[in-house]
Subunit: 323 residues, 6 copies
């Protein structure tokens, strides 16, 4: 990431948290574009002088699609009113019943986008753009059913690497994080299990399912991965945010993983909405030099929130509270 | 409907919605009568100089029953403290374990009431009154299990016509709208499927179940039907409101049907309560001359809300956004 | 029923049962017509010098349909190779995704057939024939979901009467027997609950669901109704046969009902097949003068069996073992 | 209970309720101790000049444990930052995967604590303390699966008596209240069913499961028992509070039981949180002389609330509204 | 056990099994008494010159009860036609909605019977007899829900000891074996987990639930326990038989446990019947001197089978194939 | 396939079936090797002068593994007593909790084996052998959860091609057939949906799930694919056999597909066993010159059966009965 000012707000004085919320949350309202029912679980990335993003906007028919958007400061966003239109990339087969929960990262010469793609059920769609104007769609990475496909921001041992969570076709009451590799963004293999749900007694907030969140960040302690963890209460799923550190060269090896959550639903815009009690991180901006991290997350499957943290504190917390 | 002033509030200036909420919502509080736990999903109708209504009031034992009420302006309601007591109408069999979700309409010489009637499970109860003082109960229209029985406000081809939604005995994770006809309000037949749930990819807010709302309104584009549609999220059902236009003489033929919802849960009194994320329309008042519609809906199965719209805009929206 | 010889075989010497099986069971093999996968749950009726029947034959695509058949002795059957084709009766709407589990009875001037008719899910189809050559289909009796619609063989208080079991769209883990009346075989009403499932502790074989079997037989003790009762074991449903006596003029009143079953799956052709542990009665022939009854039943949803009993013994058993 | 001032606030002027909320609710915030995710479903008891308590604090790994706390006025609490550590009491076997939902009562010479104890699933843990500094753990009362074990505050007919609710290992969609007796707090028997869930038609708020709340209070009408009742809505469980009066010497005999609830979720801190729509009473303080009762309850499985009532009114209400 | 001839048949020549079936199986037919639908899961014990037994006979209403029976040779049984009638033992409370799956053992001066007793759901009933003529019923051992209560045939460390399997109220898709102790057959405590289901990968036949079978046999390797293990296939539960060796003085300690089953459903009377694919052992006779064991088991919840084995071989097999 | 005599038996005289059973079925007994509980769902292939096979043998701990076997005539098999031991092939990661349902085919220079491989749930394992003595295991083809991975017997457009059925971790009540391609047997992509379950009304035997059976056979009408189809009856799954013809060069295109099944469970060894009502084809031998096909199938998940057919008749039947 370049030396650009990222969104930031200092930690409140009496806070002891490693992640704290932006005081003006939510930063994107559910009705921010004319057709939208909700805007959440979206990706952002530094682009030119500012930032670009790929946003999940469900319209008022509750059809799920992804939209491009731009911002100068990473907080005020201008989201396009039409969903992204893809041209064929490395395939002619770009069927898509729906698109949601995008992630974006720059590798080598282009911005790669992954999302949950509707092809006879959810699986991982892949696309790329050079300019956020023209977009190209590639072969789906996997067979259905899968969700939360997240690329590493550089090749590992010469191959693209992607985290994902094998799922089912419904609300999926299970889910672990796997990694897969590809020489060419077309064929994928060398599938390995990375992290499984925690035992209820050890860490109940992540005992039902887990899934990768934003694109991992390379630190001197390995890959910093934010992920969501889910507990099934008698009144539904509750999504919280945790962190893990993966080995730099063999990211299927988990070095540390937070037993406590870093953040859990607590604000009214997280506790109420289309799906109450959900916070779901899909993107982050960071500055290693400034030790700053801005984490974007969907709240209640309805709006978009922003949280901040110091990378060094997050790493220290994760190492100290690992299990 | 007579030339009477119906409840009304102009559309907020920057609103683009076809239905907008009354700024003083909810108009009926959950504790509006001494025994009530919640008052919602209720019916209103012009009566004498003002309005009469039949209200679903669950008491604090959470027993469901229907109560008469009266209002001069359709907003401030005086609800009786005892539930409606029925005398036998066209039958001696007026067993009823519970009554809920009433609708009311005037046909020919009397006010007909339909409701979900507990007879070995939910089915459609029918009753009538001339004066909202004395009430008569008729044969149930159908075998259990059924809900959301809604009469057309006049005979069609010489027969009474009723929409309903075959259901099960529990929370019913499915449901389509059917029509049935009767020569005499006692025997019913000629059952036809009118509208089914939408495919998830096309209109997810109405992909789990749908059910007729208020009594249909005859317009020059056919019968205007408001209905509720349900999506099953991982944290429960979410009820929204849509509209359809049915053929005047063959109402089993759907001419238009809204792909987007017209209104979905968004206010705190809709997002929280006994059953969060529910808006459920059961009645409307309208004036064709003034192009005004006032829609009554239950919010969160707890309180009663009111929304407004212009009939011409609603029809235009439904035609334009049909699928 | 005319004074015709009905199928018969004396009770085995050491048997104490009120219903005993035909020693040559099954009387109809699963592959009795070229396309059939299974032939079961079928109806028979005296016709001309012998018998006619309407047979459920599932073909090898496991599509369910009904076929006419004829027999001289009620045991050896000649089933047609093409399913029954219906012309419109009292309606033009004769859609049918599938037809199964027929019953047949003669009323006044014609043979009435009822069956489970696929119209957006299972409901009760009605048809008639004068000659088992030409068939006419009427309006469905009820909204979906319903099964086991069984007509009484004569009008009661001037109206047609039908038993049925409201169901769901799947394998239906519940089900009670109701009665409905019609002045004209088109519109139905006056729905009453007749018999509910038994408490587990009282009669577990009929604690999950029950459904009417053959057309009821008028005796001097009222209507003799054979019905099936189901228990849900940890390895699936088990269907047995019971008997009840209903009031002649108010058949919604149960006079007696057998606590023990009369017959339960025990033979290898009942214990194994497409659906193991099912015996399902759909028709009977009887002679009051000779005190004989021949009961036809589907076995394991695969083949057709025959059982015999003395009417007087069955009535006595039902009265003595009532609960 | 000694003549000590218990927490109190007069009934609001226009309130007709028998239980009314403390205006400063919640009295304990979810983050009241550094590690806590939520503090709720906790027990309090008079102790020395003030009060002591045993608090359920789930930490941010969502591990459930119980913590000691102290208060001068019963409203402002000082909760310890480390969970209670138990030494062996009448057993060496003090395994515990988790502890939650404690109750406390003084019998003879010590304070007895019961809680839901994780031993191959939830069962009833028992411990005691003399001083809230040193704690001793005893044999579990029962085999798994059980919850809501509540001791009577004195021996009955020479034996300890405990209410409990046999459960399953998950969210338990059923549950009745039983009583068991013990001569020695080690071996338990003479199990009797006390109260079962209500029929849906009679009192739906308590139709899914019920469980004892605070330690019963001996009154001149028998034991006053507050309990929680649950209804399963389409969007999850809703927990309300009822009251019953049990026979003084044979507490398995229910003399009266409230058909309406006394209090149900209605405030925002009850309607939203980790588990919305839950109010769950676990403790009370009372003064017979002053006719005052202070009821502590968990709200939304997140925070702790306080409600007040007059004992005489509660008893009168329960007797008048019994079923 | 006395030096009496127990039922026996030598191992077939080419068999390599440690348990082999009696060639004349089933030894008790489903209709062996006039009212019975099935006779299975029953207990036998040496008595006077021959044997006595307590038999589960479900009648043709499928009500479950237990009946006394007698035999000279342990193979040909004379079962009474009326169920056992109990007088009050150590309690007046002898309610019982149903009784099934009995076990019998002699301790000190009498024969103790345990069974699954219907008291607001299944729990463990206890009774005793001196002569198999007069029977006395005691307090239920535990709260519901429980099944498979099996007493050890002598006191252990001065206390009665009982194995059981906490269950639910239905078909229970889980279940482990626990032990509890009692000083007096009235109050029970010191509950310990003995054996849990096996991981699917290690021993799938016992991965869903397990439960104690016959009364354990004291050998010089500890208590020999036969138990049933269940796997849930896509077509239902399959019950097989395994063996374990428990520590003589601390039977909650498992010394050895068979990874392979000793016997699984394979004969037609085990593969078909009221509940296919069930073999369920409830009793055994043995002679240490002759190294013989006769194992009684229910087959398909319909009939009673007998199998034989050499105790030394069974012990050796269990030790060799432990996991 | 070479000009070798394949197992064969002429069609019975009065049979009209396109597949008929071998009169000596089952050809492999459940106890054919000392440790086996069942032998079924296995693969065979011509090898040297006779045949080799890979057999699924579940042992008596019901652990699933695959075993090599050899036969001179394809009917009498000599199966090894130890499971296949794999050395690393194109990966070091050859973890496997279990192996089942193998398929085998020769491509270019070696025999490729695919099976359901336990790696954090079922997925598709791949291995190869040159001689059925030494075996090498490769990377799993896909992420979990998957079953029924079947290779085409030659490269298509230069790439390996594999059919599979995405599944879940349990008994999977859904399932369609997909195809994936690989340049190197390590990385897989270009996933396409090939065939979905049939609508209930069209072909109910294949309405719940379908999965590829033996390795497809190249004919002049395209690839002949036998597959299993499943219907969920109220008493469990029933597995039958169908056939399809896929385009030679674009096998994701289905040219024809049988609406009726070719064979369904009907013999006692198919109707009873560990999983009743299952026939499951995994392998075939054929001779184009002689127009003969021998189909191996597992029966009731217990034993192995053999069926025969004429390839020309099967193709004609599939084309004529397509839907």
């Amino acid at each position: 990431m370049k030396n650009k000012l990222i969104p930031w707000q200092e930690k409140p004085e009496n806070s002891k948290e490693v992640l704290w919320r932006y005081s003006e949350n939510p930063i994107i309202d559910r009705y921010a574009i004319p057709t939208s029912n909700s805007i959440f679980n979206s990706a952002v990335v530094p682009f030119k002088d500012g930032y670009a993003g790929v946003f999940r906007c469900d319209n008022k028919a509750v059809q799920m699609n992804i939209f491009a958007g731009f911002s100068e400061n990473g907080i005020d966003w201008d989201i396009e009113h039409q969903p992204i239109s893809f041209a064929p990339g490395n395939t002619q087969m770009i069927d898509s019943d729906y698109k949601y929960d995008p992630r974006v990262t720059f590798i080598e010469d282009r911005y790669w986008i992954t999302w949950c793609n509707g092809y006879h059920g959810p699986t991982i769609g892949i696309g790329y753009t050079f300019d956020f104007k023209e977009f190209y769609q590639c072969e789906n990475a996997f067979l259905p059913f899968n969700r939360n496909g997240v690329l590493f921001p550089k090749k590992i041992n010469g191959k693209y690497a992607m985290l994902s969570r094998p799922s089912d076709n419904g609300h999926t009451p299970f889910g672990d994080i796997y990694i897969s590799y590809s020489p060419d963004m077309k064929y994928w293999g060398e599938h390995r299990c990375v992290m499984k749900v925690a035992p209820f007694e050890k860490s109940a907030w992540q005992c039902t399912k887990i899934g990768a969140g934003p694109v991992p960040i390379l630190t001197n302690e390995g890959w910093l991965l934010f992920y969501h963890g889910v507990i099934a209460t008698c009144n539904g799923f509750r999504y919280s945010i945790g962190a893990a550190l993966l080995d730099e060269n063999e990211p299927e090896k988990v070095k540390f993983r937070s037993q406590p959550y870093l953040m859990a639903p607590a604000e009214i815009y997280e506790l109420t909405g289309d799906v109450p009690n959900v916070i779901f991180p899909c993107a982050s901006l960071h500055s290693m030099e400034e030790d700053k991290l801005a984490l974007y997350y969907g709240a209640a499957d309805t709006v978009t929130g922003l949280a901040f943290g110091k990378i060094s504190e997050i790493i220290a917390f994760t190492k100290k509270n690992s299990f």
